[in-house]
């Protein structure tokens, strides 16, 4: 019944190490996708719960950071999806929708403000490509979409960014 046992003290210590090594990077990714500090930490905590709960089932535990990145992106997508459903329901019910949290409240960073106006999927694709420096194929794998979809998301997102920034590059 080795598979059924719960985490041992030693494992808990290892989990702590994994968290300290990978959580900061994951929180930064979540923050750039959501623009929400508290939400990004919540997403990473949820991602750790999901991954640590099935850590032995991971095909390649050495690639933990890769699984974590995928899980954070998927959880962010789920969050936005549920938020959209809730927002539409609130609007139908005549209630005021919750405020968006992903714009730069200080207005200091024009590029970030333009990024925050993109769709969540476009922003995620651009963050993975230009912050995480993933290839298009890796980005497609992380987002669980086709390569062509990534190309389209990045191209359209970048076009809109340039338009908003008034760039001719």
């Amino acid at each position: 019944m080795m598979q059924a046992r719960t985490l041992s003290v030693t494992e808990s210590g290892r989990l702590g190490e994994l968290y300290e090594r990978h959580a900061p990077e994951a929180v930064r990714l979540g923050y750039l996708i959501t623009g929400d500090a508290a939400l990004s930490e919540d997403l990473v905590h949820e991602a750790f719960v999901k991954l640590l709960g099935r850590f032995r089932d991971l095909r390649n535990p050495d690639a933990f950071h890769w699984y974590l990145r995928k899980t954070v992106v998927n959880l962010a997508r789920s969050h936005f999806r549920h938020a959209r459903v809730e927002r539409e329901y609130a609007e139908r019910e005549g209630r005021r929708p919750a405020e968006q949290t992903d714009a730069d409240p200080t207005g200091r960073d024009e590029m970030w403000t333009a990024l925050a106006r993109l769709s969540e999927r476009q922003r995620a694709a651009i963050v993975l490509r230009y912050y995480e420096d993933l290839t298009e194929a890796q980005t497609a794998d992380v987002m669980g979409v086709r390569l062509g979809t990534v190309k389209s998301l990045v191209a359209r997102g970048m076009a809109r960014l340039r338009e908003e920034m008034g760039s001719d590059d």
Binding site: Y19, E88, D169
Partner: protein, 258 residues
């Protein structure tokens, strides 16, 4: 081009420094991971038993776990609905002339949902390619099947949500959609109905966006959205009717049973 890309990279790196800096692993994360590990181990055992005995209990339990809030009516012995191999996808609704002497007999034992139902994986993103509607005259059964072309290696059904609503609305805009009927069902699933890979949008599902039927159960079916990878359809029913769901990587079938 490079300047703009560099500017973007710098903006992202600058913004990333504003992200919170997590400390040690929170106790709550460890506790929840332990619980999940134990639950996974139990589920694995259950699945092994299910496979060993070829039973339906594991599948039924999984469905119940996926939709704990969905009220159920269980008219008979529990079992799962299976795709009807005789039903071929067709853009035109069809009717079978043979009335069944026992209404809904083929669905005895199937779990019926009378409210909201949600299931599937949000990591599955198939193409939505076809839709067919069958209503057996006099049988008290009407079936709508959304046909998918799954991505390679995907074995789960895409995330889907089915719910009754007082007013169908377009996805994204939220504009009201008038559909004939006295009860309305909103169906939303994760799929690609439009190919975004090229410069121009290319429709993958090229069939009708509206179906007008004679009932007696389904009166109208209309697409209400294809937005951000979520495809939505609205169904107008002659009256509120419970339904069974069968979903897989290549289909989502909703069977209304009266």
């Amino acid at each position: 081009m490079t300047d703009f890309n560099d500017e973007l990279r710098e903006a992202l790196s600058r913004k990333a420094t504003d992200a919170p800096r997590p400390g040690g692993i929170p106790d709550g994360v460890v506790r929840r991971a332990k619980r999940r590990r134990a639950a996974n181990a139990t589920l694995a055992g259950g699945l092994a038993l299910t496979l060993a005995f070829g039973g339906f209990l594991g599948v039924r339990a999984a469905m119940e776990a996926a939709a704990p809030e969905a009220p159920e009516v269980v008219p008979g012995t529990p079992s799962e609905p299976s795709p009807d191999p005789t039903m071929t996808p067709s853009p035109e609704p069809t009717e079978t002339a043979e009335p069944s002497p026992e209404p809904a007999e083929e669905l005895l034992g199937v779990d019926l949902r009378c409210g909201r139902y949600e299931d599937g994986s949000d990591e599955v993103f198939p193409d939505f390619v076809d839709l067919s509607i069958n209503e057996k005259a006099g049988a008290g059964i009407a079936r709508i099947r959304f046909q998918f072309e799954p991505m390679a290696g995907q074995t789960d059904a895409p995330w889907h949500i089915i719910d009754f609503t007082d007013q169908l609305v377009t996805d994204g805009e939220g504009a009201p959609v008038d559909v004939e009927g006295q009860a309305f069902v909103a169906v939303t699933f994760m799929a690609q109905g439009v190919d975004l890979s090229g410069e121009e949008f290319v429709e993958i599902y090229t069939g009708p966006k509206e179906f007008h039927l004679d009932g007696p159960i389904i009166l109208e079916v209309e697409q209400t959205g294809d937005y951000e990878g979520m495809v939505s359809w609205g169904i107008g029913l002659s009256e509120r009717t419970c339904y069974a769901v069968d979903a897989g990587p290549d289909h989502l079938t909703i069977t209304f049973v009266r």
